[in-house]
């Protein structure tokens, strides 16, 4: 289990990236949602032993992550948001190097690298240069290196940005296959990713955890509070003045508006909440901008 207590980080210029984060993450997939600039990457990096928080502690299976970095790194798989490879170097060479850095050598290394290449469907392309991979292949290479050494803690930061639907599906399946024995911390702003595969989620905004818990529970919590209406753009300002609008969407020319209210407002129908609604509501309730005016 991964436990974060009171994590805080302020960048120079008084930019609060993390404000007193408290989370308990069990084995399995955990989704971290949030808008850009919420502090997700900072949190990911801190847990991945790459950054020091100003305050707070992190423990993983009883190990103090901040103090025993090397021990944690032995069990860690990390896929950052921006990553690459040495120029003119093949996938298998890079992966073998990462395996070596993780302390795996000799015949065992051959087997391990072979395994991750097969798992990520890169076996055929293993001798090709990474800097010539397509977007999907590159992400696969990224997750391959994170899987080396059967890590117990996998941190994946915005992994599906830029993947086509098939590749996204494949990626999700890959992560799920990792089994329930491993903590997978997945940060993204694509709600669909989280919705399909993460039983546990947390929503971050402006450095704070706005909402955390089981996805199904959170969605259920919105039932009876979410209402929708199809209208025109001219009416939008009026609606905003009267109700708490959580989201708007253009659908075949007209505007589909969703509103958060305890009781049914006039002219609106009950809407079935999705995780996306939970996300928008969380932002609205914390006075964070969910969309541009």
């Amino acid at each position: 289990m991964l436990k974060l207590s009171g994590l805080s980080k302020t960048y120079p210029g008084n930019i609060s990236a993390l404000q007193n984060i408290n989370l308990e993450i069990q084995k399995g997939m955990f989704g971290l949602l949030g808008p850009n600039g919420a502090g997700k990457s900072t949190l990911m990096r801190t847990v991945a032993t790459l950054q020091e928080p100003d305050a707070g502690s992190i423990t993983f299976d009883g190990i103090d992550v901040l103090k025993e970095k090397t021990a944690v790194r032995k069990m860690l798989g990390y896929l950052p948001q921006e990553f690459g490879a040495y120029p003119r170097t093949s996938a298998v060479t890079m992966l073998k190097h990462f395996a070596a850095l993780k302390g795996i050598h000799g015949k065992e290394r051959e087997a391990v690298v072979q395994n991750v290449l097969i798992k990520t469907n890169l076996w055929e392309a293993r001798y090709r240069r990474v800097d010539q991979f397509s977007g999907g292949m590159k992400q696969r290479y990224g997750i391959a290196q994170a899987l080396i050494g059967a890590p117990k803690l996998i941190i994946v930061d915005e992994p599906t940005a830029g993947l086509d639907p098939a590749e996204r599906r494949r990626f999700q399946n890959l992560l799920v296959e990792l089994g329930t024995d491993v903590v997978v911390l997945l940060s993204t702003h694509i709600v669909d990713d989280v919705e399909d595969i993460c039983p546990q989620i947390a929503i971050m905004g402006q450095g704070k955890i706005l909402l955390a818990g089981e996805a199904t529970t959170l969605i259920k919590g919105l039932e009876g509070k979410l209402w929708s209406l199809v209208t025109e753009k001219s009416k939008l300002a009026e609606l905003r003045a009267m109700h708490r609008v959580t989201s708007t969407r253009f659908k075949s020319g007209s505007l589909d508006v969703r509103v958060l209210a305890d009781t049914q407002p006039a002219g609106m129908a009950a809407a079935r909440p999705t995780l996306e609604d939970v996300y928008f509501c969380a932002l609205i309730e914390n006075d964070l901008p969910a969309e541009l005016e």
């Binding site: 790459l50 950054q51 020091e52 021990a71 921006e82 190097h97 070596a100 993780k102 795996i104």
Partner: protein, 1194 residues
């Protein structure tokens, strides 16, 4: 147009924001400033030219322009490669801009930036010339003209040329490595060109054109100023060939640029060059057969914590080495390194007559320092940046950082990879050297010697330089800034010595160790080993610092980085640090003990001050009368293993003056420790042991003809090792000391006075005293310090049991005692007390010439020229005894000594001869006749039998006569082609060096020990005279001269005496010629204006129109035309190559030329293709290139 302007000013402003630019500007300003103002750092400009003359500024600008390559690369690379690196390429290329606008805009911006840097450098130079502490004697009144000239003629064109070339390469290859490769190619080409032009090839036709190939104009400035005098250098702008060179290179550079613009593609296809390289690779890669591996269960991998560290390091190192070794740039570096070695090798010649040397390993070892340094610094600067920032730039930094390995693995791997590159380069160059040896038929490779010298004494130094490189790059936020900081660091390190900071403890260098075949690495290796241990400890500490500071992960502020660094201070780390810090201090203390306690630490400045102080305090005794050696009976004990020498003895000093002496000075070389110094019947009134100054007052004045007895006991003791200025005279094998270094001598030692007037001015001394005027009666009885006439001489010299000791005189007795060997030498007749003592494990070859014993004492492996030396000695003795006078001694000895000095010197009957000169010279080009043997043997007559009084012109009697004698022996024994080549070489030596003379040129009869006059012009004058009046006539004059002055006491011979002898044999027709040759500075300007040939019945009639002028020059180089009436060789050759050398002339005769136009008609039987006036440069023609022309026959 507007778009272009927009692109230009946007790029310009972008780069203005970079920290690199703002760091580079002050750095270049300061570099130029310091170069101008530091007295320690002189570039190759003439030391006497005005500091702010256009010439001197041009020297600075062209030479320092080399450093300009770094900012140019950065500006250009950024301008054209940045889009690729920052993934903004697509954003640009889809905009409606044309290729021309894009490229010209970027290029112009890069040029502007580079010009800004160049201008800043020039401003630095300008500011430098205004500094008040400069030698005002060499500062002309301020004028902007030199700087304007340098800007428009040198700085601006160089900027444009470099920018264009680098921009072209960068845009064609889209690769930074290729751009750096171009820099290396240019640098290597410059060095090869400089080598070729400087050594022995200057003056040959065609070389003049080669200097046009120098893109930075450095060689042009050098070539155009070569034969000019100081006065001319101060005033003229170095213009010759400059315009041609600028136009040529601007054309080349812009031609390449336009070509690259044409080929530039505004899309994503890779540059065609890299595509070609990869296509070849892709074709070769074998696609493995499709295999279907079984998916295995991902097991938890077992990892042991300790056993995996080395393999982790191994993997990181392998990746880093791949980066370096697989790039084409590395291959280019190897190729250039090998090319440099080849170039150095071919330029390596003997200091005597520029003759090639045998490629013995000890010679080859000298090639691994000077040129390699440049390569090493560039490799370190570039690759340290590339390697250290690699992870960050590839985007894998975070992945790597999150992997479980110790922090020190990455910085150590970078340092090792960098060292590996250097090692490969050294290996390649070593193999090249060995191949060159084998190619030239020399197979004694002495591999352990190579390994020790190349990898330990040089390799360690280069590895040392890599460590701070990696550390600086670890700290720097990006690689450009890191490179700049590193560049500044190296410049500072290299400047420490010249600026007077000479102690090895802070120099961060391993001094170059000279390897002598005779003495091996010598005791200096002790110092070097201690330094290696010292700096090794320091480098480990630096690496540990790198380990602490290596950025792992993301830091919000510097404070976090420091926190992380402190967190890495674990007990193992602190233990290792403490251990090596201890080692560092221990080694440092040992070194300090040796350099400052056992020995005295003296900087060059200290030594100069000591000399100045000696002169100021005791100079008044210089011309006071002192007695001379009359009889010397001494003992020398040499202890080679301890590098120690004991000298004791008794000398009888006689008053040879015609006045009484009541007090006189005795001088002792300061390196000797005086245990006893006594003059019978005199009291010691002043003692200055440090300066070796002892003033004795006689109890009763010493009347003329009376004698006093001097006894002494002194030691030369060498302990441990010094910081620098090591004692290379008393060594383990190959001791060679001169008498005056190990015994006291009466008189003030004026040889210790400083000659450099700039140094004297700085230390507050007056200008150096000139030699006494010719004929000054005060000095007719003075020869040299400590040598004032003949003396009886006897020495008992002892040395180790396995060595032979040699001294002047006949060997009377030889015996063994107390496990040492003893030799007794007695001079068979009084000799000038100009003594030399040597000791080594010699091989001895003996021969005889009539009743003279010829002996050569040499290092056993240097037997190459022993037979030739003996044969040469015999031929020389044949000639000299026939033409001049009998040989006065019963023996003639040549002794080899270590290469710490590279000359040959004549002592009475004994000639020490450096191992780096004659013994390994390849005498094939000299037809197996050894030059120095003749020259030094000749001194037995000129300087030995007949001594020259210490005044102007004495070198005519010593060196010029010896050189003349040498030429005559060659004339009698070798091909005419050889002697013509020598004459040409002498003439070049004279003409090129007359402008570098600090005193101002003087006529031969008045020369004040000016080498180019004594060794070259004087000999040429005598040779020219014998061509006109005949060899026999000249030699008759020399015989008469010897009759008058050989073995005589004072008054000694003067140059006027010799010239008078020549006058009396020459006849009235040649008196003016003698005046011109010896008493004036005469130069000619001869030009073959036109020539044509017509066929006639019995051959061809050739007419030549020759324009000729004669000039007389004063010492400052100002010339006045005077009437010409002199004889010149006119020659016709069968082939049209201007290479006169190697052809036998169809016709060669002297013709009389007068001022103005001369028409000459000549008949030959064969068809001539080339005509030349004075083809062998026997006359001092300032512009010999226009003496010859192809002949067209009608």
């Amino acid at each position: 147009m507007r778009t272009l302007w927009e692109i230009l000013q946007f790029e310009f402003r972008q780069q203005l924001k970079t920290p690199f630019l703002w760091a580079v500007l002050p750095v270049f300003f300061l570099i130029h400033l310091f170069s101008i103002t530091s007295t320690g750092i002189t570039l190759w400009a003439h030391p006497q030219a005005n500091i702010n003359s256009a010439y001197a500024i041009a020297v600075t600008e062209t030479t320092l322009g080399f450093f300009g390559m770094l900012p140019v690369i950065v500006f250009v690379a950024t301008a054209i490669l940045r889009d690729g690196d920052t993934a903004t390429t697509e954003l640009f290329f889809v905009k409606p801009i044309t290729r021309q606008q894009y490229l010209w805009g970027r290029f112009a911006a890069a040029c502007l930036l580079a010009t800004l840097v160049g201008l800043t450098g020039l401003l630095g130079s300008l500011t430098g010339t205004l500094m008040p502490w400069l030698d005002q004697y060499r500062i002309a009144p301020f004028s902007l003209q030199p700087f304007k000239f340098c800007f428009f003629a040198i700085v601006l064109p160089n900027v444009l040329i470099l920018c264009a070339l680098f921009f072209s390469v960068a845009s064609l290859t889209r690769s930074l490595a290729a751009t750096v490769g171009l820099a290396l190619v240019l640098m290597a080409a410059d060095l090869v060109l400089a080598n070729y032009v400087s050594v022995g090839n200057s003056g040959q036709d065609g070389v003049g054109a080669l200097v046009l190939l120098d893109h930075s104009a450095t060689l042009i400035v050098d070539a155009s100023s070569r034969n000019l005098t100081v006065a001319e250098l101060n005033v003229l702008l170095p213009q010759a060939l400059l315009l041609d060179n600028r136009l040529l290179w601007l054309a080349i550079a812009f031609g390449v640029l336009l070509l690259s613009f044409k080929r530039f593609r505004f899309d994503f296809t890779q540059s065609w060059i890299t595509r070609r390289l990869q296509w070849k690779k892709a074709r070769r890669k074998r696609i493995p057969r499709r295999s279907s591996p079984v998916l295995q269960r991902l097991q938890r991998a077992t990892r042991s914590s300790s056993g995996t560290v080395l393999p982790q390091l191994g993997s990181q190192l392998r990746m880093d080495l791949r980066c370096v070794l697989r790039s084409p740039l590395f291959l280019l570096i190897l190729v250039l390194g090998i090319g440099q070695m080849l170039s150095e090798f071919s330029a390596h010649v003997s200091p005597i007559m520029d003759v090639p040397l045998y490629p013995v390993t000890s010679q080859m070892l000298g090639f691994f320092r000077y040129v390699m340094m440049m390569f090493v610094l560039i490799i370190a600067i570039y690759y340290s940046g590339v390697l250290t920032h690699r992870e960050r730039e590839s985007g894998i930094a975070e992945i790597v950082a999150a992997s479980p390995f110790p922090d020190w693995i990455v910085p150590v791997s970078k340092a090792l990879a960098l060292c590996a590159v250097i090692t490969m380069l050294l290996l390649a160059m070593m193999l090249t050297a060995i191949t060159l040896q084998a190619f030239n038929g020399y197979t004694q490779f002495e591999l352990e010697l190579y390994l020790r010298s190349v990898f330990l004494y040089n390799g360690f130094y280069y590895w040392m330089l890599c460590v701070p490189a990696v550390l600086i790059q670890i700290v720097a936020p990006n690689k450009w800034l890191g490179m700049l900081l590193l560049f500044v660091l190296y410049v500072v390190l290299l400047s420490l010595g010249p600026l007077g900071f000479e102690h090895i403890l802070y120099g961060f260098a391993i001094p170059d160790v000279i390897y002598s075949d005779m003495n091996g690495f010598g005791h200096v290796s002790e110092q070097v080993h201690a330094l290696i241990a010292y700096w090794a400890c320091f480098c480990v500490l630096l690496l540990l610092l790198g380990h602490l500071l290596y950025p792992r992960g993301v830091y919000a502020s510097f404070r976090e980085r420091v926190r992380d660094a402190l967190a890495r201070l674990t007990p193992p780390v602190t233990t290792v640090m403490a251990l090596f810090a201890l080692g560092f201090v221990a080694a440092g203390s040992w070194i300090f003990y040796n350099t400052n306690v056992l020995n005295a630490y003296q900087t060059t400045d200290d030594l100069e001050r000591a000399k100045a102080s000696y002169e100021t305090k005791y100079g008044k005794y210089e011309n006071r009368p002192s007695p001379s050696f009359n009889d010397i009976d001494m003992t020398i004990d040499i202890f080679p293993e301890m590098r120690r020498l004991e000298s004791r003895g008794k000398a009888i000093l006689r008053n040879n003056k015609n006045m009484a002496i009541d007090e006189f000075v005795v001088s002792v070389n300061p390196k000797m420790k005086v245990n006893l110094l006594d003059i019978g019947g005199a009291t010691l009134t002043t003692t200055d042991a440090v300066q070796g100054f002892y003033l004795f007052k006689l109890n009763t004045p010493l009347e003329p003809g009376m004698t006093a007895t001097m006894t002494w006991d002194m030691s030369r003791i060498n302990r441990g090792f010094a910081n620098s200025n090591h004692d290379t005279e008393v060594v383990e094998n190959g001791t060679f000391v001169s008498g005056l270094a190990v015994m006291p001598a009466p008189g003030f030692d004026y040889t210790r006075k400083l000659d450099d007037n700039a140094v004297r001015r700085r230390l507050g001394l007056k200008e150096a005293a000139r030699l006494p005027a010719l004929g000054d009666p005060e000095f007719l009885d003075k020869l040299a310090f400590g040598v004032d006439g003949g003396s009886e001489f006897r020495v008992v010299i002892s040395t180790a049991a396995d060595q032979t000791a040699v001294a002047p005189g006949v060997l009377k007795r030889e015996w063994r005692e107390n496990e040492r060997r003893y030799f007794e030498y007695v001079a068979e007749r009084p000799i000038p007390p100009h003594l030399a003592f040597t000791s080594a494990r010699y091989e001895i070859t003996r021969d005889r010439w009539h009743d003279v014993a010829l002996e050569i004492y040499y290092y056993p492996k240097h037997a190459y020229n022993v037979e030739a030396m003996l044969a040469t000695a015999k031929r020389s003795l044949d000639y000299f005894t026939r033409e001049f006078s009998p040989y006065p001694l019963s023996h003639f000895r040549i002794l080899e000594y270590p290469r710490y000095r590279t000359a040959a010197q004549a002592f009475p009957g004994v000639v020490p001869y450096s191992e780096a000169a004659g013994f390994v010279t390849n005498l094939a080009t000299l037809q197996n006749i050894d030059y120095s043997t003749i020259h030094e043997l000749a001194h037995i007559w000129w300087g030995g039998q007949a001594a020259a009084a210490r005044m102007q012109g004495r070198e005519l009697l010593n060196e010029s006569l010896a050189q003349y004698s040498t030429l005559m022996v060659y004339k009698a024994n070798a091909d005419p082609a050889l002697i013509n080549r020598m004459i040409g070489s002498f003439q070049r030596g004279y003409l090129e060096n007359r402008s570098k003379d600090t005193l101002g040129e003087l006529p031969v009869m008045y020369t004040e020990d000016q080498g180019y006059i004594s060794y070259f012009k004087g000999a040429l004058a005598l040779y020219a005279l014998q061509e006109m009046i005949g060899e026999n006539t000249v030699n008759q004059a020399l015989r008469n001269y010897l009759t008058k002055f050989a073995f005589k006491r004072a008054p000694f011979a003067t140059s006027r005496d010799l010239v008078n002898e020549l006058r009396s044999v020459a006849g009235s027709d040649y008196q003016d010629l003698i005046t011109d040759l010896f008493e004036k500075i005469v130069l000619y300007d001869v030009q073959l204006v036109e020539t044509s040939a017509v066929r006639v019945s019995d051959g061809y009639e050739v007419s030549l129109t020759v324009s000729a002028q004669q000039f007389e020059a004063n010492g400052k180089g100002e010339e006045t035309e005077v009437p010409l009436h002199n004889w010149f060789d006119v020659a016709l050759f069968p082939n049209a190559e201007p290479a006169v050398e190697g052809q036998t002339p169809l016709y060669q005769k002297k013709h009389l030329l007068k001022s103005g136009e001369n028409n000459i008609t000549v008949r030959v039987s064969q068809k001539p293709a080339y005509a030349c006036v004075d083809p062998y440069h026997k006359m001092a023609d300032r512009r010999p290139e226009n003496n010859g022309k192809a002949v067209h026959a009608n």
